[in-house]
């Protein structure tokens, strides 16, 4: 569902400055703000597995702005490797990738003890119910269509899941 662009504001406002405050306040809610620690390990590490460089660039910018430590894999094979070696706190996974598809990656990930419990959100433009069901069976938190969400909304979902862990 195409969403309102400044969903974070709680009041009717055309004041341009309001959104920035809202964004900042939500990012300091449950996470250490930048000044309390220079140790980047305190920031949750998100593994973003996506092969489209344009999308990667966009999300990276948003993640940085929202205080998430992001590592990127641009294909399934690298993604699986990083998932198992970098111990990410969260994984954002694309489905349509060359060599190793998101679903295949998930299957392999879940058979490894290191990868069994990492929370995963599928972020794709493929709206195939079959893939969705396969993904849900492999224990993903959500199966989201990229085109239906803004990066900001994705970030807030990740934060919600991390907070509720």
């Amino acid at each position: 569902m195409p969403a309102d662009t400044d969903s974070k504001t709680t009041e009717e406002s055309t004041d341009a400055s309001a959104p920035i405050e809202a964004a900042e306040s939500s990012s300091t809610e449950s996470f250490p703000s930048a000044d309390t620690s220079t140790d980047s390990s305190k920031f949750p590490k998100v593994l973003f597995i996506e092969d489209d460089p344009l999308i990667v660039k966009m999300y990276q910018a948003k993640f940085a702005h929202e205080g998430l430590n992001v590592i990127v894999a641009e294909d399934g094979v690298a993604g699986l490797k990083m998932a198992l070696s970098e111990s990410p706190d969260f994984i954002l996974l694309d489905i349509m990738m060359p060599q190793l598809s998101g679903i295949d990656l998930l299957e392999k990930l879940r058979t490894d003890s290191k990868g069994k419990n990492i929370p995963v959100i599928v972020l794709t433009n493929l709206s195939e119910k079959e893939e969705e069901q396969k993904a849900m069976k492999l224990g993903v938190k959500e199966y989201l269509l990229k085109a239906n969400l803004t990066p900001g909304e994705v970030v807030s979902k990740i934060k919600q899941y991390l907070a509720s862990k």
């Binding site: 662009t5 341009a16 344009l54 069976k137 990066p151 919600q160």
Partner: protein
């Protein structure tokens, strides 16, 4: 006419030989240039010669000619196996399919053996004992004969088996038929020419060689001629008909009297006519059915292609739209710093246009799936008020930009749980609002939820737009229908309302429109209130349980009052 057992022997062998020759000629006539057809004819000729000689060798009991008959039986036996070997290699090609050296070797060896069989080197003499079939005395040359014949036959069989295994489809059917013919022939030959005589001393059926090779001749000729239509029904019909013909035909010759003979002849002719008609109709029926199957397969393939194309197109189109949506949202959220009000305005417009594009792609994907019944729904319990509020949020700014008043009205104490696919229902409401925003130039748009009865919940989107005439109302929910906008705008694909209707009806609801030209419009739908999921919950349901809760709380803003009004 002769009487007694001799008559029967001659009779059956005669028929077998004649049938083989006829088939051989038919096959040859079908295509005189084709190597397969030619080889088959040669085989049949050699086979017929062998059959005749085989039979005669048991009838003639004089020394000189008898020996020659017995020898010639072997001669034609090796010639037969030679052509059998070549035929198995070549079938079904038009050219001889054997390499130069094996061919030369085989041919030369066969020629040698042919020569030898005509000399005392193979059969030196024949011993006639009363009551016992003629017993030839073997000489050393028999070894080479046996070796050659067996090698040729075995090699031919092996080749056939290999080709059979590797083939597929229609070709495989032909090879299968060939294999049956070969198996029958050799089983019969081995049993009656070797096992029975050697183990049981039963030599009675040895002269019937022609009958043993007949199955092979029949199967092979069929495999060669009928290379398009290959169906058990047809073969059975034809075979049965031919057998009846043969029996009736031969009956003519054994009729007791001339008048009976005339009757038999008449019966035979009628049966021929009937048989031809019958076989033809069976052929037609089978042909049609096969044609139908082919078409069905093609249709299925095209359908699948269409699906894949639409899915792929949707996926590809979404990628750039995602980037547009994402970057603009980030600018609007202030990631690039302050932006001027005017920039914000324009960006809001771009966002809504882009969202329309995204909805469009989703709609086209969904229409194709809904129509095929392929759309899978995530049915769950949703609160209608949540959907109304979320749609309100989405269109708030677009409405404001157009200078329209926009409000959502949800009364207290509402029983508004429905058993639907939340995303789909959101699309329906979004579709109503988007239409209103598109066509209303001034005034207000309201999303209103009411409870007409305790078990029904109603959502309506009212606007103060131009309204829709009764005439156009009738066609409104049809595919690709668009109301002619007075401003001459051509927006949308005309799919939105069509999909909405399909969806609401799928969820056991009703959808409709109250409007009159110049009096605004009210698009509404009603759904049955469902507090708990029906017993036959989809398996998918249980996996989504925990994500449901998060989604629900997502939709509800903490400070959103039940009544909301745009200032």
């Amino acid at each position: 006419m002769l009487d007694g057992p001799v008559n029967f022997d001659l009779y059956s062998v005669g028929i077998a030989i004649i049938s083989s020759l006829v088939l051989g000629l038919l096959v040859f006539r079908q295509n005189t240039r084709n190597a397969t057809n030619r080889l088959f004819l040669f085989f049949v000729l050699a086979n017929s010669a062998w059959s005749i000689l085989n039979y005669l060798s048991y009838q003639v009991v004089g020394l000189e000619i008898g020996l020659w008959f017995v020898r010639l039986v072997l001669t034609f036996a090796v010639i037969q196996s030679y052509f059998f070997f070549l035929l198995m290699h070549t079938f079904p090609s038009t050219q001889l399919k054997i390499k130069k050296w094996p061919f030369l070797l085989a041919t030369l060896t066969v020629l040698l053996v042919i020569f030898l069989t005509l000399t005392p080197a193979v059969f030196s003499e024949v011993v006639y004992t009363p009551g016992v079939p003629p017993t030839p005395t073997v000489a050393p040359g028999i070894g080479l004969f046996a070796l050659t014949t067996i090698t040729l036959v075995v090699s031919g069989i092996v080749f056939l088996a290999k080709k059979h295994k590797l083939s597929t489809g229609l070709e495989k059917k032909r090879y299968r038929l060939l294999s049956w013919g070969v198996i029958s022939m050799f089983s019969l030959i081995v049993v009656f020419n070797f096992i029975f005589p050697v183990l049981l001393g039963f030599t009675r059926l040895i002269p019937f060689g022609a009958l043993f090779t007949l199955p092979f001749v029949v199967c092979t000729s069929y495999a060669i001629i009928r290379h398009e239509l290959f169906n058990v029904k047809v073969i059975a019909a034809q075979a049965l008909t031919v057998v009846i013909w043969i029996v009736l035909f031969s009956k003519i010759f054994v009729s007791p009297s001339n008048s009976a003979r005339v009757v038999d002849l008449l019966i035979f002719l009628l049966t021929v006519l009937f048989g031809i008609l019958l076989v033809r109709s069976v052929r037609n029926e089978v042909e049609q059915r096969e044609r139908l199957q082919v078409l069905t397969e093609k249709l299925r393939a095209i359908d699948k292609q269409k699906d894949e194309f639409i899915s792929m197109a949707a996926h590809e189109l979404r990628a750039p739209m995602t980037a547009i949506k994402g970057y603009i949202s980030m600018i609007m959220e202030g990631d690039t710093g302050d932006i001027p009000d005017k920039a914000r305005d324009y960006l809001t417009d771009v966002t809504s246009v882009n969202d329309r594009l995204i909805r469009l792609v989703n709609n086209m994907l969904n229409v194709s799936r809904i129509e095929e019944g392929r759309l899978v729904y995530k049915t769950e319990i949703v609160k209608l008020s949540d959907i109304a509020n979320s749609v309100f949020k989405s269109f708030k700014f677009e409405a404001k930009r157009k200078g329209l008043e926009f409000a959502v009205s949800v009364p207290e104490n509402l029983k508004d749980s429905v058993w639907v696919d939340g995303d789909r229902l959101t699309e329906v409401v979004g579709n109503f609002v988007s239409n209103s925003v598109k066509y209303t130039e001034s005034g207000r748009i309201d999303i209103v939820i009411t409870q007409p009865t305790p078990d029904r919940i109603r959502l309506a989107v009212k606007d103060t737009g131009p309204g829709i005439s009764k005439a156009e109302q009738k066609k409104l929910f049809q595919k690709f229908f668009r109301v002619k906008s007075t401003a001459g705008k051509t927006i949308g694909t005309g799919l939105g309302l069509y999909i909405s209707k399909l969806l609401i009806e799928k969820f056991n609801g009703e959808i409709g429109l109250n409007s009159a030209a110049g009096k605004g419009s009210e698009f509404w739908f009603e759904l049955p209130v469902t507090e708990k999921a029906p017993k036959q919950a989809v398996e998918f349901e249980s996996q989504r349980e925990d994500t449901n809760m998060i989604q629900e709380s997502d939709k509800t803003e903490p400070t959103l009052p039940t009544k909301d009004k745009v200032a």
